[in-house]
C-alpha cells in the first residue's frame, strides 16, 4: 500500500489499471476526458495490457464494451452528462443481457442550457435502466469502488455505474491509499463468466423473447438487483479484511449517535455535510450526517435502522425528481420509511444544481430553512 495525492480521475485510472481490465472503449467528454486520456496513456506505455479502443461516440463505447463483455472480457468505459444520455439505449442492453460492465460516470449537468459543472441529473436519469449505482465523496472511495464494482457486477451479472462529481472530485487532488496488485488479484481473480459467446461453444444473445419469457427475465433482474444488496455488504467486508482498511457502510453515519436531526446526501456534498452536522451540533441541535454510498439498489434497511424513532431526516439532492417535490433521494427516503413503525419527519431540497458551490454556510442555510418548515 502507498499513499498518493492525485486527481479523482487519476485515482480512478490507477484502479482500472490494477483491476485487470481486458477491454476498454471510450469517447472523451468534459470532465471525463482526463480519465480516458490517462488510461490511453497507460495503454501507450504498455502498462495497461488490455485492449483500448477510441470509438466515435458514447453509444458506440457502450455497444463495444457490452459486446466485449458478452464474449467474456472484463470491460470498462467512462463518460459524463450528454455522453451518458447518449448511451441510454445500450444501458438497457447491458443490464438486460446480464453483462457485468463497469463504468465511471463523472457527474455533470445535462443540457439545456449548456453547463460543465457537477450535478447528478445525468446518473439519476438512468435510475430505471437496471444498473447498480455507487456514488463517491472522496478519492479513496473512487479508487476502492472500482474493485467493489467488478466484484459485485461479476457475482450478480449486473452492470455497475460508479459516479463522482465533475471537477470537485474529478479534477481536484486529494490523498488516497493504493492497494498492492497481489491483494487486488486475490480480491478480484480473472473473470470466469457463467456463459459467453464463442464460436466453439455456440449459443446466441438477445434473441426475440415472447411475453412470458421476457417477463421472467425482467422479474429475475429485479429480484437479483435487490439481492445484490447483501452481495455489496459481503464484498465490502471481504475488501476490508484483505486490505485492513475500514470501508464506509452503504449508508455511513458520522457525528452524534442517537441524534435528533439526520442529514442524508450523496456525492461530494456528503463530505461537506459532516462539517454541517458538526456546526448544527455546536448550535445545540444534535445532528448526524448520512453519506449514501449505494444509490441503486437503495439500502432501505440501513436507513430505517440508523434513524431513531421521532428523529428528523433532512435529505439534500443535487438533482430534481421532476413532478415530485425535491430530488430522488428524498423520494427514496420517504418510500423506505413508509413501512417502518418509526415516526420520522422527512424533508427534502434540491441544491448545488449545475455546480452551485455547496459550502458549509450554503448547506447550513438550506438545512435551517427545512428545519423551520419542519417546525411549522
Amino acid at each position: 500500500m502507498s499513499k498518493r495525492i492525485e486527481t479523482g480521475n487519476t485515482a480512478c485510472a490507477l484502479a482500472v489499471l490494477a483491476a485487470g481490465i481486458d477491454y476498454m472503449a471510450a469517447y472523451p467528454i468534459t470532465p471525463q476526458t482526463t480519465l480516458s486520456e490517462k488510461i490511453a496513456n497507460f495503454a501507450a506505455t504498455g502498462e495497461f495490457t488490455g485492449k483500448y479502443v477510441l470509438v466515435e461516440s458514447e453509444h458506440s463505447a457502450m455497444s463495444a464494451v457490452a459486446a466485449a463483455s458478452a464474449v467474456g472480457a472484463r470491460t470498462f468505459t467512462a463518460t459524463s452528462s450528454q455522453g451518458l444520455l447518449h448511451m441510454h439505449e445500450i444501458l438497457h442492453y447491458a443490464s438486460g443481457g446480464r453483462l457485468p460492465v463497469v463504468m465511471a460516470n463523472i457527474n455533470r449537468a445535462v443540457l439545456a442550457p449548456w453547463c460543465l459543472y457537477a450535478d447528478h441529473q445525468d446518473s439519476i436519469s438512468q435510475r430505471d435502466t437496471g444498473w447498480l449505482q455507487l456514488f463517491c465523496s472522496n478519492h479513496q472511495e473512487i479508487y476502492d469502488s472500482v474493485f467493489l464494482a467488478y466484484k459485485v457486477a461479476e457475482k450478480v451479472d449486473i452492470p455497475v455505474m460508479i459516479s463522482y462529481d465533475g471537477f470537485l472530485l474529478s479534477h481536484s487532488l486529494l490523498p488516497f491509499e493504493t492497494v498492492d496488485d497481489s491483494v487486488i488479484k486475490q480480491y478480484l481473480p480473472d473473470r470466469d463468466p457463467a456463459w459467453r459467446l464463442h464460436p466453439d461453444i455456440g449459443g446466441n444473445f438477445s434473441n426475440v423473447a415472447m411475453a412470458a419469457e421476457y417477463s421472467a427475465y425482467r422479474h429475475r433482474l429485479a429480484d437479483d438487483t435487490l439481492k445484490s444488496l447483501q452481495i455489496f455488504r459481503d464484498s465490502i467486508k471481504e475488501y476490508e479484511n484483505l486490505t485492513g482498511r475500514k470501508q464506509p457502510d452503504l449508508i455511513e453515519a458520522s457525528g452524534t449517535e442517537n441524534a435528533n436531526v439526520y442529514l442524508l446526501s450523496m456525492g461530494s456534498m456528503a463530505s461537506e455535510m459532516e462539517l454541517v452536522a458538526t456546526e448544527l451540533t455546536k448550535q445545540g441541535i444534535n445532528a448526524s450526517a448520512l453519506k449514501l454510498r449505494l444509490y441503486r439498489p437503495f439500502p432501505s434497511d440501513e436507513l430505517v435502522n440508523i434513524l431513531p424513532d421521532g428523529s428528523t431526516l433532512i435529505v439534500l439532492d443535487r438533482n430534481i425528481a421532476y413532478g415530485h417535490p425535491g430530488g430522488v433521494l428524498y423520494m427514496e427516503a420517504r418510500s423506505a420509511l413508509y413501512e417502518s413503525d418509526k415516526k420520522i419527519r422527512v424533508l427534502g431540497g434540491s441544491v448545488g444544481l449545475g455546480g452551485v458551490d455547496l459550502t458549509v454556510s450554503v448547506l447550513l442555510n438550506e438545512v435551517n430553512r427545512l428545519l423551520e418548515v419542519a417546525k411549522a
Partner: protein, 184 residues
C-alpha cells in the same frame, strides 16, 4: 487547516502549481487538497485554484471564500482577488506575489521575483516564463512546507533534464522569498 487561493491566468501553470503543492504537502506528512476552478479554459483567461493543508483529513469540497493566504501569479491579479472577496489589512489574507515590488494593498506580503528566477533557469516558452515552480517554492516557504518536500514533489512531477532546472528554480525561490510591508 490553512486555506490558500491562487489567482493566475490560463497557461501559466496554475494547475501544475496546485499539483506540486499537494505532493509537497503529502511528502511533509500533511493532509492536502487542491481544487482548481475551471472556467473558460483558454490561455490568458483569469483562473483560480484553492489549496488546503491540514493535520487531519479535509472534508470541504467547495472553493475557499475566506482564504488565509492569496498567491498572485502576477501583480495585476490583485483586482481579480478583490473581486473574489479578498479582504486586506492585518486581519485579512497574507499576500504572496510574483513581482519586484509589493502590490498596493495593506497587510503582510511575501515577495518573490518568480519570473526572473524562471528566466535565470531557462524555464521559458517563447516570451512566457514558467513561474509555477518558483511560486511553489515561495508558497511552500510561507506555509511552512520544508524545502526537501518541495524537491521531492518536483522530482515526482518533472522527469529527466527538466527536473534539474526546476529543482534549482524551486530552491532559489524558497531562499529568496521575503516578507515585506504592503505597498502604498
Amino acid at each position: 487547516m490553512l486555506e490558500l487561493r491562487i489567482h493566475g491566468r490560463g497557461g501559466t501553470g496554475v494547475v501544475t502549481l496546485a499539483d506540486l503543492l499537494s505532493k509537497a504537502a503529502l511528502a511533509a506528512g500533511k493532509e492536502a487538497q487542491a481544487l482548481p476552478f475551471f472556467g473558460v479554459e483558454r490561455r490568458g483567461a483569469v483562473i483560480r485554484a484553492c489549496f488546503r493543508i491540514s493535520d487531519t483529513p479535509i472534508l470541504q469540497r467547495s472553493m475557499s471564500y475566506q482564504p488565509d493566504i492569496i498567491a498572485l501569479m502576477h501583480e495585476n491579479m490583485l483586482p481579480h482577488a478583490r473581486n473574489e472577496g479578498f479582504t486586506e489589512g492585518e486581519d485579512g489574507a497574507v499576500i504572496i506575489v510574483n513581482g519586484k515590488v509589493p502590490v498596493e494593498a495593506e497587510g503582510t506580503q511575501w515577495l518573490v521575483d518568480a519570473e526572473q528566477i524562471a528566466r535565470d533557469h531557462g524555464l521559458t516558452f517563447g516570451w512566457d516564463a514558467y513561474i509555477n515552480v518558483p511560486m511553489a517554492g515561495a508558497i511552500a516557504k510561507v506555509i511552512g512546507i520544508p524545502l526537501e518536500s518541495v524537491e521531492s514533489a518536483v522530482n515526482v512531477v518533472f522527469k529527466g533534464k527538466n527536473a534539474a532546472s526546476n529543482l534549482e528554480a524551486a530552491r532559489d525561490a524558497y531562499n529568496t522569498t521575503t516578507k515585506v510591508k504592503g505597498g502604498a
